[in-house]
Symmetry: C2
Subunit: 145 residues, 2 copies
Amino acid sequence: MSYRFTGSLPYLLNRVGVRMGELFLQRLHDFDITLPMYRVLAILKQEGPQRLTDLSPMVTVEISTLSRLVTVMKKKGLVSRTRPDDGRTVSIMLTPSGDALVQKLMPLAAEFEAVGVETFSDAEVAWLKSALKIIHTNLDKLEAR
Amino acid sequence: MSYRFTGSLPYLLNRVGVRMGELFLQRLHDFDITLPMYRVLAILKQEGPQRLTDLSPMVTVEISTLSRLVTVMKKKGLVSRTRPDDGRTVSIMLTPSGDALVQKLMPLAAEFEAVGVETFSDAEVAWLKSALKIIHTNLDKLEAR
DNA sequence: GGCTATTCAGTGCAGATGCAATTATTGTGA
DNA sequence: TCACAATAATTGCATCTGCACTGAATAGCC
């Protein structure tokens, strides 16, 4: 039966990833933010103020897109832009309002994860997560051509 | 240590999924098609002619987007549109040219998967894939609110 | 110190996408 | 049979996104 597309890893990964994102976005609708915005908030909450260049790989979004995204988020009062030490650099920081919002959303995200893996043991979930990290690293070999 | 966003399942899934897609898209560039187009071709190759409604959940793409996508693919001579039995329905089918293209791309996709999981045993890969399917099913519980 | 290269962010533009409304066809109940 | 509901695909519109280019600031080299 050779190669089954619907049984391939890229397909299965994309399918479950997109699905989870879609479902989460529906809940986010009440808070008037998008999925990438949530990811930015969550990263800033965890890692503290970041430059766009550093934020980009963490949220897997192009810098140009991120730049515009931050503009919108600033208008919403969720983050602030400041020019610190380096004049080229911009430091993106959570505002108290943004911090409060991400605080409210974290339980929701946790619930999504819990439902997704409710049929697995803790050890299995741990293995799965480490596997996803390893695969991400393995993909580096494809990067340089 | 409470909740770590970068250690959460949705984040890890999205990150590796998007990354794999980006890398694959780079290779697809030589063939002048996009990632969703490849997915449509692969599904049609495996499952045979499909309606838009059936295709949509399989490629995780909105029907409206799919409709326009098929228009472009038809112009490229990769697929054909036909109105069969039901007058409302459209049957999307691979052309010989589309079939030849997907045939060329399948080894490439297989290589991507192989590199991604090269540090895992066959049994581990099998478990991982079944886990991704189960999670996708578990997410149904979040669908209906 | 001054010139060039590099780094970082922002913009113009074209294409992709989703939601909502529209059109066309089929199914159904009185 | 006829009106009305349901299904399938398409289109209008606003938004999102990435690529390529531009602008601004710093670093490195002579």
